[in-house]
Amino acid sequence: MKKLMSSTAAKIIGYVLLVISGILSVVSGIGIYSAMVLRFYNMEYYMSDFSMNNASDYDIFYENLRIMIFNFRYELIPVFVVALIVCISCFVFLLCAAGHRKEYQELCAGTLTKIPLDIFFIGGLFVGALGVASADSFCGIAAFLYLVLVSLPICLVVLTAFLADFKVRVKLGKWWQKTLIYYMYSFVLRIWKKIWNFNKEVFLDLPLVWKAALVVLLVWCFDFFVYTINSYSPESYIVWWVVEKIFLAPTILYLVLMLRKLQHSGEELAAGNLSYHTDTSNMFWEFREHGENLNNIALGMSKAVEERLKSERLKTELITNVSHDIKTPLTSIINYSDLISKEPCENERIKEYSEALHRQSERLKKLINDLMDASKVSTGNVEVLSAPCEADIFLTQAAGEYEEKLKEHELNLITKIPQESLKIMVDGRHMWRIFDNLMNNVFKYAQSGTRVYLTLEKIEDKAVFSLKNISHYPLDISSEELMERFVRGDKSRHTEGGGLGLSIAKSLTELQKGSFELTVDGDFFKVVLSFPVV
């Protein structure tokens, strides 16, 4: 059966059989029908009424044909039935066989399938109609013969072919896509899309100013258009005006909201909140771009800050670790140089050398401790436990600690303390460290035989400490340089000290929210510390 369905010859035979049996069944059907109708109209009467005399040859032939059909009416019934069965089975076979080909296992489209369905349908209708309509030029028995022998086969073949082809299309799926209407629809859609995309690109590529100008222009055109068409009826103009505003107002509000959002994130960034994220999901055009830029700035900045913190921490850690590692051998150096200097020895030079060794190793010890402190203090790695501290008592205590030592250096300390008590919020230990560093500088650098002034005053709402002394060495560097790490008052560096004291004092002062000022004027050296009074 499959083989039969895929052979072209079988299909041709099928069509021929379909046509022949179709003609036969129609002819016999009409014969049977007319025989029944004639019988209904009493044949005897009809025949007697028929006058042979004034009848033409055609009438006679026609009459004879009728009589013949009438006489053969019982024989016509099996012919009709057989022809009809053959016709229907051919029709069914052709429908089933459609799409089957010898070379292919699957259903495949034939030549007809390439024609768009709607064209095929209209073409089939047209051919069928033409086949029927062309019978119009004939009359009588010729018209009948034409209808049966020409129009009927044409209609049958076209109808079968169309249905068979339609079946193939349906089976293959998406049959509606192979229609002219669909082609046109998709073509128009494609063109429209292209135009739209092009416009969109051009519009999006426009700078914001031009975009805004274009929108304004469109709104104006709309206004003008509405005004022109409604110039005679103010009522409908008002309706249009309201409709326009209903669209415009939310748009403008939305734009303003987006701007506000961006402004807010800008403010957050400026305030240093680098973790702030701008939500750009509801934004468009330049607004979204701007929001994303802000996000990227925040990301970059927080990354940079993180890196810096990390490197500062690493630096402090490195200094701390290195200091620990240096301290162990240094302990031995200090101890053994001390032991050497204490050994009884005849050679004066060895004594001198060992003393130098011991002095310098002690200095190295101080330097390492200062270095650690300076690195910790400058990176803010120091705990500050602020507590109320009475500045006047503090000054008394500090002065008392140093009075004797200053006398040893032939320095006269003059303190000036206000009657009223001044409270400041500081960490006492850090305050002591600051003053210790400053006073040590006084011992190292002050000219002996001069006075050292240590005063406390209340200026506005600040407690102001000041320390003044006269330098022993010429201070040939600026005050800014003096506060830097490793810078010392004497460039020749022949005094004790590491040059970290002032730097540590300054950092500690600032950690406690105070200010540190240093003035150098010739040999006159002045430090001013001020802390807010609570």
């Binding site: 301290k327 302990t331 009075e403």
Partner: protein, 228 residues
């Protein structure tokens, strides 16, 4: 005879300490890491331990934790770790003292002596009348005598009065003015500087390291106190 255990991974430091602490009364044991130190403490009768923190095999912190499980021998940390956090940690887990490297030999000697004396002779708690005691500082008001770790300290009358005032009120902070009023029995008129000078002197006498006092503490910006 006192048995002192010195534990440090640096042999030179141990040798230097032996030379500085050189005394016929001391017998030394050496350990180069915490494990060796523990073994020695278990087998020998040790009176004082000088312990480094950063050592191989077992560090000082872990060693001290183990020592404290069975012994209350005085332990002095001797370490290059000079940060405050390390010091607090060390003292909290049971160290009696904390000396940072590079140390001053005199200071180590003084502290070793002080701890030995307190551990072996000055039992805690036995209070005699008229004797004020804070840590290793003893003030005998009858004899007008001050002893630190069992050693007699000579003091001027003013220094004695100030120390007495502070010892009578341990942990209480006195402002310089208050001290002046109580000791000099007079109103201070910008003369309270003298109090600070005297306190400094007292510290130099009763403390091993005047800059890092154990007993007489300076509360900067507030005053002075004796800490119990």
């Amino acid at each position: 005879m006192y048995n002192i255990l010195i534990c440090d991974d640096e042999k030179d430091i141990i040798n230097a300490l032996r030379i500085y602490l050189n005394d016929s009364q001391y017998q030394f044991f050496e350990a180069y890491n915490g494990k060796q130190a523990l073994d020695i403490i278990v087998t020998e009768e040790i009176h004082l331990v000088l312990l480094d923190i950063m050592m191989p095999v077992m560090d000082g912190i872990e060693t001290l934790e183990k020592i404290r499980q069975f012994s209350n021998v005085p332990v002095i940390f001797l370490t290059a770790k000079s940060e405050e956090v390390d010091m607090i940690l060390g003292l909290n887990i049971g160290a009696d003292d904390y000396i940072t490297k590079p140390f001053s030999p005199m200071e180590v000697t003084a502290r070793v002596k002080s701890h030995l004396r307190r551990f072996l002779y000055l039992g805690a708690g036995e209070l005699k009348a008229d004797i004020l005691r804070i840590g290793g500082v003893e003030l005998n008001d009858k004899a007008k005598q001050v002893m630190v770790d069992g050693e007699n300290i000579s003091m001027t009358p003013t220094e004695y009065e100030i120390l007495k005032l502070l010892m009578e009120h341990p942990n209480e902070v006195f402002t310089p003015k208050e001290i002046y009023r109580r000791v000099w029995k007079d109103n201070p008129l910008g003369t309270e500087n003298i109090v600070a000078v005297h306190v400094r002197h007292i510290r130099e006498k009763i403390e091993i390291d005047a800059a890092n006092p154990r007993y007489l503490k300076v509360i900067w910006g507030q005053g002075y106190k004796m800490e119990k």
